[in-house]
């Protein structure tokens, strides 16, 4: 039996008991320990500042997956004489891909929300280890602007996460309906669901675009002028 205090707010009444969504015991343990950990010896060995590029890459991959799912949804929406097997297979495939390809960005968003300012502080500390003194100084003098961009990313992550859950849920329900009856694509209820899913999907995409935009802004803030004009 899973202790009740570990169950998260994502748990639904239908899944309660058998497969509750469990809040991470490991996360709680790690975060508690991180709070009182001494900053000794161990250093992250990735190149300082590489976090921005890495985050940008995972946000872009998720954006591609969301766009592909939306495209598959549009293809289903226009099938007025029953959904074709190809359109349904494409939708099923994209629902599947979306769940896997968005894993990293969802995990990062969740970590960012859980750790809040501590997430930024750790990232900024990493910037302070840059051997290039010009870059180091840029990261220090522009800390308030970087922090502002981080706050926007955090807010967009929260918004995107909130839209992602209903998006995925609607997509699954549409796919399930069509698997049972391909003709159901024409009925109002299914068309409403498709519209709703598309709205949520577009919202998720806007959030991902916003995150990418803020990451680009952060990257520009820590790029010396000479380099940025060269590029």
């Amino acid at each position: 039996m899973i202790p009740i205090f570990l169950t998260s707010c994502y748990e639904t009444s239908r899944t309660r008991g058998r497969f509750p969504i469990v809040g991470s015991l490991a996360l709680v343990a790690v975060l508690l320990m991180a709070g009182c950990a001494s900053k000794t010896a161990v250093q992250d060995v990735r190149p300082p500042g590489s976090g921005i590029a890495e985050y940008r890459q995972i946000a872009s991959s998720a954006q591609v997956a969301v766009q592909a799912a939306l495209k598959a949804l549009v293809r289903v929406k226009v099938q007025t004489n029953g959904c074709s097997p190809q359109a349904l297979a494409a939708l099923s495939n994209q629902v599947h891909r979306l769940q896997v390809d968005s894993l990293k960005v969802r995990a990062r968003s969740q970590a960012l929300l859980v750790r809040g300012d501590a997430y930024f502080d750790q990232w900024h500390e990493q910037m302070a280890r840059i051997p290039d003194s010009e870059l180091r100084s840029l990261a220090e003098t522009r800390k308030p602007q970087l922090q502002e961009s981080f706050r926007k990313i955090k807010s967009l992550s929260q918004e995107g996460r909130a839209a992602f859950d209903p998006f995925l849920s609607e997509l699954r329900q549409i796919r399930n309906l069509l698997e049972k009856d391909v003709g159901s694509v024409g009925i109002d209820n299914t068309q409403d669901r498709i519209r709703q899913a598309a709205d949520n999907g577009n919202h998720v995409e806007r959030c991902l675009v916003g995150i990418t935009h803020e990451l680009d802004a952060m990257q520009a803030m820590v790029t010396p002028l000479a380099n940025s004009t060269k590029n």
Partner: protein
């Protein structure tokens, strides 16, 4: 030494979970098998977390939070499976999808786990 063993145990548990995703559809209790194996992975990850030094925890707090979040997200696949059954999806189809998602997503999670462990010099 304990850290290295805990690290290897997490990797082994992902391997067992992936094996379970290949065989689960042959058993009536296939989904329970997957659930148990997934919980074994979670427990293994908790044990692994407990072997980290304060320095590793401090330097890797963001990465470790992401790994934990990744496990939470993987676990959501079970709720999605239950939701699909409740919506009348054929159990075999729903289970096949759950297996495929767990297999692919756990592979992605393991890549991150290995990368983070290497960055933080865990088990060296």
């Amino acid at each position: 030494m304990a850290q290295r063993a805990a690290l290897n145990d997490v990797r082994a548990q992902v391997g067992w979970l992936q094996n379970a995703t290949r065989t689960a559809s042959r058993y009536p209790s296939g989904v329970d098998m997957l659930w148990q194996q997934f919980q074994a992975l979670r427990n293994s990850y908790v044990n692994f977390s407990l072997t980290l030094t304060p320095g590793q925890i401090s330097a890797g707090a963001n990465d470790l939070a992401e790994l934990s979040a990744g496990l939470d997200i993987l676990q959501e696949s079970f709720s999605n499976y239950q939701g699909d059954l409740a919506n009348g999806r054929a159990p075999a189809t729903a289970l096949a999808e759950l297996c495929q998602i767990l297999r692919e997503a756990s592979r992605v999670w393991l890549q991150e786990f290995n990368q983070d462990s290497s960055r933080l010099r865990i088990g060296y």
